[in-house]
């Protein structure tokens, strides 16, 4: 088949000559494994089951399309946190704009430094969780990231982190790719809040590998850049130990194409994972949440909560899978994906999947796609609330369910305010 060869040609073109060399033996080995995997998988193709709804062509083109820089005088998200800030410009760490890499309870090291050391804890994570996450669903862009990334951080958390860590992804150039790869290890009982915001580049490819050991808690909140033409493929791979907790929330407004993948694996009993997101898209906007959660332990709870507001031809995609392995009894899997279409031109595609091999589990999923409720609109307007304000109120109310998944109420309120501003800008 013609398309099969095309997958491999595109992969080779992406691999190109830019593969980094050198580093510790384990780092070289991780890259070689990823490279072999990528060559075997080929690049993502429209005919791949998990790329049916999102055309990957613009993500796999050798030269990324330019994206206008977005300028705003608004306060950036997460400024209110007690945090250290790690700033990247066009995908390159900028020490001058960043805080010292020093937080009590946390070791922070540049990825490139970590990968030069023969003995390093990151050797058990870098490319390892990503490689595990390649089966049963291939994620070639994540493998490509493991092969090529030199930017990012190795973060090891040994206790309760005294401050949050904020990654700030700024752009200075209208063109170009950027790849960032973080490896994060939360030791037993550790606790870390990590935030990310900004577009990173015209085309971003990020991988975050997170090991959450027993009784540890990882909080992740992300606000993806508002640059209208930016593209992004993001990947989170995580493994969860006993009684651990993983919570990730993503806010997306604008961006031409966003593919957010999360691969979550429960390995210890009684653990919890939430992956949630709210997105608002207007016009040339495609947002794709592709989630894979594997329950391989007893009495674990997973929640997927995704809400999308779409208008003027924007497209939303949700592909969420819960795999409950034999023996993963008492699993509680919850999956919710809802879209609010503000007009007839917008689209939402949802593919919820449950694959269950244990007999004592509770898994539920709900996918809906609808418009603003007429009765609620009449109720609000009959009280004198103007049509547009009522519509915004109901739109925000629709997104509220996803925002509720953010543990920190200050962040939740800020995310809500940003969505509310987005709507105000559009309805004038």
């Amino acid at each position: 088949m013609a398309n099969v060869q095309e997958k491999y040609d595109v992969a080779e073109a992406l691999i190109g000559a830019s593969t980094p060399s050198g580093g510790a033996i384990w780092a070289v080995a991780a890259r070689e494994t990823a490279l072999a995997n990528l060559r075997q998988m080929g690049a993502p193709h429209r005919r791949d089951e998990y790329w049916k709804y999102t055309n990957p062509t613009s993500l796999t083109a050798v030269d990324p399309l330019a994206a206008d820089l977005f300028h705003t005088t608004e306060v950036r998200p997460f400024e209110m946190l007690d945090r250290i800030k790690l700033v990247f410009v066009d995908g390159i760490f900028d020490a001058a704009q960043s805080d010292d890499l020093s937080v009590d309870g946390v070791e922070i090291e540049l990825l490139s430094d970590a990968m030069a050391k023969d003995i390093h804890w990151a050797s058990s994570l870098y490319g390892v969780l990503e490689a595990r996450g390649q089966s049963p669903v291939a994620r070639p862009l994540a493998a490509l990231n493991t092969v090529q990334a030199v930017q990012g951080f190795a973060i090891r958390v040994t206790g309760k982190a005294a401050k949050a860590i904020s990654m700030v992804y700024l752009r200075g150039s209208e063109t170009g790719d950027a790849m960032v790869h973080h490896v994060i290890k939360l030791e037993q009982g550790a606790d870390l809040t990590l935030t990310e915001n900004g577009p990173l580049a015209a085309r971003a490819n990020t991988v975050m590998e997170v090991e959450v050991a027993d009784n540890a808690a990882f909080h992740h909140v992300r606000s993806q850049g508002r640059d209208h033409q930016r593209r992004a493929a993001t990947h989170i791979f995580t493994q969860l130990g006993q009684e651990s907790s993983f919570k990730s929330f993503t806010l997306t407004v604008n961006g031409r194409l966003t593919r957010n993948e999360a691969v979550i694996e429960f390995l210890g009993d009684n653990a919890h994972a939430t992956v949630a997101g709210a997105c608002a898209g207007d016009g040339d906007f495609l947002h794709d949440d592709t989630i894979f959660i594997t329950h391989d332990a007893v009495n674990c709870e997973s929640r997927q909560v995704f809400k999308k507001v779409l208008r003027n031809g924007a497209t939303g995609i949700f592909q969420g899978k819960i795999l409950v392995k034999a023996g993963a009894q008492k699993t509680d899997g919850y999956q919710l994906s809802k879209a609010l279409l503000l007009d007839d031109d917008s689209n939402f595609m949802a593919k919820p999947e449950l694959e269950i091999y244990a007999d004592d589990v509770a898994c539920s999923h709900g996918s809906t796609c609808g418009e603003i409720d007429d009765d609620a609109m009449f109720y609000l307007t009959s009280r004198g609330i103007p049509f547009k304000i009522a519509q915004d109120m109901l739109t925000l109310a629709f997104l509220h369910e996803a925002l509720e998944e953010i543990e920190n109420p200050v962040i939740a309120e800020d995310m809500g305010a940003r969505l509310s501003d987005w709507m105000e800008r559009r309805t004038g």
Partner: protein
């Protein structure tokens, strides 16, 4: 205050006439009650007056203090002073009751060219009014009508009415689903709002509500028309004899 002339209304989606020429004059400060069998068009009239979609006015007019109601959007009607207490108040998850009330109050003030209430002023007013309706702080904080009992929903309607200070209040079967005590509480809330400049149209199936909210005029509606009007004694007649005699009288 409210002047309805030969109002004829059909459904948008199907060829069905609901109101077949309603005439009604309500003066300032008056309380009128409308009773009538199921399907006579009482609720439709309240919806058409407040601007719900799905209806087509085929003839007639409705004005509030001389302003053409039928030409206005629902929010404009509200700003002009019309208020409908819903028979089935709508639950709105994700919108806080307080936010909703404050947005409504200030939107109306703005539409009328008045200063918006500050957060402090609003809070003071809403707390005082909520207290008299036995609405606690928790109910104010919850999403609009979500998880409210039938009685709580109706009290919440009266709270909105009190906060918005409308000129013309329509109560659509506000007594339905209420126990005796709740009905009394709601009626007290309504009576507290009675004033010279404010009129009421009370739609009900039961005379009992009218023991608490004493009407000046009672109308009987049947088959899309007002077939008889009279004093409070008309409500008692219905309570005792049903509609059959009245319907036979007109037929």
């Amino acid at each position: 205050m409210l002047s309805i002339k030969n109002l004829q209304v059909g459904l948008e989606e199907e060829d069905k006439q609901i109101l077949k020429g309603v005439d009604l004059e309500i003066g300032a400060g008056e309380v009128h009650a409308i009773m009538g069998p199921n399907g006579s068009g009482k609720s439709t009239m309240s919806y058409v007056l407040s601007g719900k979609s799905g209806y087509v006015v085929t003839d007639g007019s409705a004005t509030l203090n001389g302003e053409d109601l039928l030409d206005m959007e629902p929010e404009e009607r509200a700003a002009a002073g019309l208020f409908l207490a819903f028979q089935y108040p709508v639950e709105i998850p994700g919108v806080g009751n307080m936010t909703f009330l404050r947005t409504a109050v200030n939107a109306q003030r703005k539409a009328r060219g008045e200063d918006e209430l500050t957060a402090g002023e609003f809070l003071k007013e809403v707390r005082a009014k909520a207290k008299s309706l036995k609405i606690d702080a928790d109910m104010l904080k919850r999403p609009v009508n979500v998880g409210f009992s039938g009685g709580e929903k109706k009290r919440n309607e009266i709270l909105q009415m009190a906060m918005l200070s409308p000129k013309m209040c329509i109560l659509d079967e506000t007594d339905s689903g209420l126990d005796v005590d709740a009905m009394k509480l709601v009626a007290e809330g309504v009576n507290a709002l009675r004033s010279e400049g404010r009129s009421f149209l009370v739609i009900t199936h039961y005379q009992r509500l009218l023991d608490h909210i004493k009407p000046d005029v009672v109308h009987i509606m049947a088959n899309g028309r007002i077939i008889k009007s009279g004093g409070p004694e008309l409500a008692l007649e219905v309570e005792n004899n049903g509609y059959a005699d009245l319907l036979a009288e007109v037929a």
